[in-house]
């Protein structure tokens, strides 16, 4: 279990990272926006606002536990301990990246911390159940955590995986990040019930829904669920209400939001609220906070500089890694 200040610091690192990525993403894309242009081409899904779920859950996840992440993965990768330099180099498509430029921002793989990604909605549930099966057989107390958005809870993979995990009593935690919108479709229009956690009952496993985007509440619930899993008591479903402070992807005009909706989310910024809490409880001083802000900014700039200075792949590198040879 990390200290509160350490959790706060990770949240600040994620926020700084996403804010800088939003800026960098626009490079080479003006005056005319082209998704294919600039040092960071392709789609870009940022997770600013969703720091509490990443940090709250990951406070109880060990380096040798497995995490599967969806198309919006930066907060989860950072909180899991994926190397920031290599992750950033991957997002820049450089040879020093996690995948030497073959994956990009939606496909971050770091086996050294058992982190994997998929750009397909709902696809991370089954592999997490499989990893959990392997862990259960090892008797190692390791767990797997599958993260996905609330839109993914309407995929068949979600229901199939909950049932299979319950049958196998697999040490897995399913975390639904409910950020209110599946791209543009609000949860009320996509999901027949209010709380996805109610669906856990169908599979005979505990389900918890948390509102408020509160890192400490999330941490507490994750602690209980992960402890259960480690002790051999099987899976838990955790749904966490959170907020997506950028659009679905960069370039999303967000015309589907209600007037003032974004402003309201910003007013309830989870990082500001957590900082105030820490200040009030004398767990953090203004000077500490300034040092943290400086520290995370340095880390992010270092990673960006590393990525920019790293070599581009050679065209013929595209031909390798289809199969393991020999």
């Amino acid at each position: 279990m990390e200290s509160y200040v350490s959790m706060y610091r990770t949240m600040c690192l994620i926020r700084r990272y996403e804010d800088r990525m939003a800026e960098i993403y626009t490079e080479g894309k003006s005056p005319l926006f082209s998704i294919a242009a600039g040092p960071v081409p392709g789609e870009m899904h940022l997770a600013a606002g969703q720091e509490p779920v990443a940090v709250g859950v990951m406070a109880h996840v060990r380096p040798d536990d497995a995490v599967t992440a969806p198309h919006r993965p930066h907060h989860l990768a950072i909180a899991k301990g994926v190397d920031l330099r290599r992750m950033t180099a991957e997002i820049f498509g450089r040879t020093t990246g996690l995948s030497h430029g073959k994956g990009g921002h939606m496909h971050l793989f770091d086996p050294s911390v058992h982190f994997s990604c998929s750009g397909i909605v709902g696809a991370g549930f089954p592999p997490a159940v499989g990893a959990a099966l392997a862990f259960k057989r090892q008797g190692s107390g390791r767990v797997a955590v599958a993260f996905a958005g609330e839109g993914a809870a309407n995929q068949g993979t979600f229901h199939e995986s909950l049932n299979l995990a319950a049958l196998w009593k697999a040490p897995v935690l399913f975390v639904i990040e409910d950020n209110h919108y599946a791209i543009s479709v609000p949860k009320a229009q996509s999901t027949a019930i209010v709380d996805n956690s109610d669906r856990a009952r169908s599979y005979g496993i505990p389900g918890v829904s948390l509102r408020g985007n509160d890192v400490l509440a999330i941490s507490e619930a994750a602690h209980e669920a992960i402890s259960r899993a480690r002790e051999g008591q099987g899976p838990t479903l955790l749904e966490v209400e959170t907020t997506r402070l950028y659009g679905h992807f960069q370039g999303d005009a967000e015309a589907y939001l209600h007037t003032g909706e974004k402003a309201e989310w910003r007013q309830h910024d989870p990082i500001v609220r957590f900082r105030n809490y820490l200040l009030e409880h004398h767990l953090l001083s203004m000077a500490d906070d300034a040092a943290i802000q400086q520290d995370v900014a340095t880390l992010v700039e270092d990673a960006i500089a590393y990525a920019r200075q790293s070599p581009e792949p050679l065209p013929e590198d595209a031909w390798t890694d289809v199969f393991i040879e020999g």
Partner: protein, 338 residues
């Protein structure tokens, strides 16, 4: 294939023996899927394994193909070597995302850092009136996607050696067994596939075709259940003085391009026989290879015999007209020799 002490096995038995021997050798090898446990696999490919290894290593799953095939992805990344059966190739539609977007691509998308040693096995083929959703072949669909190895044995000896190679391979392998070769008793099966199988654990390397019948006039290039049919046609054509060479590809990925070219350099005529659909598949791929690499050696245009682009029909008469038969192969050879 021949020894003095013949130990003939059905192809189903050869497959389960290969799996059992590898399971005994490596505790990380597990089997899961629908009815693979107590039942022993609907087509007998896991017969005896549950009794030998128990429910800890042979797991019956719910009918949740995305979940249990996707589970093999996570399990293999964490040290297991799952063999997953999904009864019929026709059923793969519901789980294709886990296969063609994840199992096949994770190694590449991770820059080579993630490995998925998984064998997905399934039954293919028609010939017993099971109609369009239980009789397809479809291996070309999987061969089309980069990152999957594709294995299609034609006999029990190959089936065992190819399965052992598949289990030991660190890449995902699609292993297709033809229902009409398995020796099941309750379904027509070609005796040709039931051959001597050594007891020892042996590998057959992928990407090595085998000339199962030599000839000088024409090459039939084929795979799976069409191999014995081609061999029967070859025999029927001998009295007419036509010497047919039959090449069993054994694997589509990797594909033995050299063997394809070499046989045509020798015979100068090629007939490709394929139980999959005709368009955009194996037969077209081999024809393209011959056009690219052996055009100068061809004395006649390449000819293809495959399932015409229609679903497999139910009626015995209709089905027999859809799937290449010994008679159709013989006719196609005659046409090519004219």
């Amino acid at each position: 294939m021949s020894t003095t002490t013949a130990r003939k096995l059905t192809m189903a038995r050869a497959i389960s023996e290969a799996i059992g021997q590898e399971m005994a050798h490596d505790p990380n090898v597990l089997v899961w899927g629908e009815d693979v446990g107590v039942y022993g696999g609907i087509f007998g490919a896991t017969q005896g394994l549950y009794a030998q290894f128990g429910e800890d290593r042979v797991l019956d799953t719910p009918i949740s193909e995305s979940a249990f095939i996707g589970a093999a992805i996570g399990a293999s990344a964490e040290g297991l070597r799952p063999i997953v059966e999904l009864m019929f190739v026709d059923f793969f539609g519901v789980a294709m995302d886990q296969i063609y977007n994840h199992l096949a691509k994770n190694h590449y998308m991770s820059g080579g850092s993630v490995r998925h040693p998984v064998v997905l096995m399934t039954a293919i083929g028609g010939g017993y009136s099971d109609a369009a959703q239980h009789s397809q072949t479809l291996y070309s669909l999987f061969a089309h996607v980069p990152g999957l190895k594709v294995v299609v044995p034609s006999n029990a000896y190959d089936a065992k050696g190819l399965m052992i190679s598949a289990i030991r391979d660190d890449n995902p392998v699609m292993y297709f067994f033809h229902k009409g070769l398995l020796g099941l008793g309750w379904m027509p099966s070609d005796d040709w596939a039931e051959v001597h199988v050594p007891e020892d654990r042996y590998e057959i390397p992928f990407g090595q075709a085998q000339v199962v019948g030599t000839g000088t006039d024409l090459s039939i290039i084929t795979i799976g259940a069409m191999v014995p049919k081609a061999m029967k046609a070859r025999k029927l054509l001998q009295p007419a003085g036509i010497a047919v060479e039959v090449v069993d590809l054994r694997t589509l990925v990797p594909l033995d391009r050299k063997a394809i070219v070499e046989t045509v350099m020798k015979t100068h005529r090629a007939l490709i026989v394929d139980e999959d659909y005709r368009s955009f598949g194996m037969s077209g791929e081999i024809a393209a290879i011959l056009a690219e690499e052996a055009l100068d050696y061809l004395e006649a245009p390449v000819r293809r015999l495959a399932v015409p682009d229609i679903p497999i029909p139910y009626s015995r008469i209709l089905e027999q007209s859809a799937i290449p038969s010994v008679e159709a192969i013989t006719q196609a050879v005659h046409a090519l020799m004219e």
